[in-house]
């Protein structure tokens, strides 16, 4: 059995760990509120953007000449995956979940004999992927320095993706991120952005006769690159809210576990102290008896 001194040291060390996790939880909670707010504020933009593109692509006359970003290159050989993770750890299963989702996709792509290229956003994703897919990673981006998620960072990623697309370096592009549902649940998402999947191709029965200025094609080719940045931005916002949520619940758990541990150790400490006292008493009594 550990000595009393050792137990005391362990209790105090667990207590100070608990203090740290508690503080981290509170910081995460404050950040979560802000991240959640900005994620919600960012939604109208991407929703509207999606709507406009949907309207446009429904109205487009000949698919043959549609911009490549919409219709794809016509091939399906090289897949580019943008894996978005956090820059910091200690956030529970946040990064692991994204990576797990991404790995499934990677395996599928490789099994089909296609080429895989990876861009990692956030350092944690790179750390987890470099061992298995190190050769496939063509770019690693990190926004450690920017305090808040901002559009210009997303635009940077978007520009890289578009540039590579124009150089015909890939045919299909998908992004991976965590969608924020609530503090406990974050759903890892896989979203294809090139070619654009018009997810709900409901036949808009309402005859929306839009006037376009300039032509549809020109608007589309201008809009699609913006849409990619917007989608990435949305993913980044969702991701940052998810990260904080995940960290908050992870730290909450850690705090609770530390509390349990302190209780257990305290009981053990009291028991062994009592045992020591009893032992001493017995010694004194039996000493007195022998006199």
């Amino acid at each position: 059995m550990a000595s009393l001194d050792d137990l005391k040291k362990r209790i105090s060390s667990v207590k100070s760990t608990q203090k740290i996790t508690k503080a981290m939880k509170m910081v995460a909670a404050a950040k979560l509120r802000r991240a959640q707010e900005s994620a919600e504020k960012g939604r109208p933009y991407s929703d509207k953007m999606n709507n406009i593109i949907l309207n446009l692509s429904n109205g487009i006359s000949d698919i043959e000449n549609a911009p490549k970003l919409l219709s794809g290159t016509g091939e399906d050989k090289v897949h580019l995956c943008v894996v978005m993770t956090s820059d910091r750890g200690l956030c529970g299963g946040f990064n692991t979940n994204i990576i797990k989702k991404a790995k499934q996709y990677f395996q599928k792509v490789l099994d089909e004999g296609k080429t895989l290229k990876i861009i990692t956003v956030g350092t944690k994703g790179y750390d987890q992927l470099k061992r298995l897919y190190g050769d496939n990673i063509i770019e690693r981006i990190s926004f450690k320095d920017s305090k808040n998620v901002n559009y210009f960072d997303a635009d940077k990623v978007g520009k890289i993706v578009i540039e590579k697309f124009e150089k015909k370096e890939f045919d299909v592009c998908a992004i991976f991120y965590n969608q924020f549902k609530n503090v406990i649940t974050q759903i890892p998402q896989e979203q294809q952005i090139i070619p654009l999947k018009t997810s709900e191709k409901e036949e808009n029965s309402s005859e929306d006769n839009y006037e376009f200025e300039p032509e549809e094609d020109e608007i589309l080719s201008n809009l699609l690159p913006k849409n990619i940045s917007t989608q990435i931005f949305k993913a980044m916002l969702e991701n940052s809210a998810s990260e904080q949520g995940s960290r908050m619940s992870a730290m909450d758990n850690a705090t609770r576990n530390a509390g349990e541990m302190v209780d257990k150790l305290t009981i053990e400490y009291n028991r062994s102290r009592q045992a020591a006292i009893t032992k001493e008493l017995i010694e004194i009594i039996s000493g007195a008896e022998s006199l």
Binding site: K41, N51, N55, E213
Partner: protein, 130 residues
């Protein structure tokens, strides 16, 4: 009969402005300024750098935009833009910052005609503000 309709301006970070008593909005569309009144036909267009003018019952406002897309439908005007500044509380420094970066872009040799056109536009508008 009222002559008012609603306008919403959103940028990626948030919904920038929302008004439902506007009578006319003038936007710097790519092929020239468009003034939009109530019951305009549904239209989608994109913007070049310029000034958005909003006329409403509660006062007129002017904004500088860098780029954007507008959609008008059922008397709802949505303006999506990545950079928007209210001319009322804009400071000279900010404008000259944008101006400088635009000039720098323009001096690059590898820009195409369309980019050049947009940058020229931008500078012109910025000068007119200053």
């Amino acid at each position: 009969m009222s002559e008012e309709y609603s306008v919403e301006i959103v940028n990626p970070e948030k919904s920038f402005l929302s008004k439902n008593d506007v009578t006319e909005v003038v936007v710097p569309a790519f092929e020239g300024e468009i003034g939009i009144l109530k019951d305009h036909i549904s239209i989608i267009s994109f913007l070049k750098p310029g000034i958005i003018k909003i006329f409403s019952k509660s006062g007129n406002e002017r904004f500088y935009v860098n780029d954007g897309i507008i959609e008008f439908k059922d008397n709802n005007l949505s303006i999506l833009t990545s950079l928007i500044l209210n001319l009322k509380d804009i400071d000279k420094e900010k404008i000259s910052d944008i101006q400088k970066s635009a000039e720098k872009e323009l001096s690059k040799s590898d820009i195409n005609d369309q980019e050049k056109y947009l940058l020229d536009q931008k500078l012109e508008v910025l000068k007119s503000i200053n």
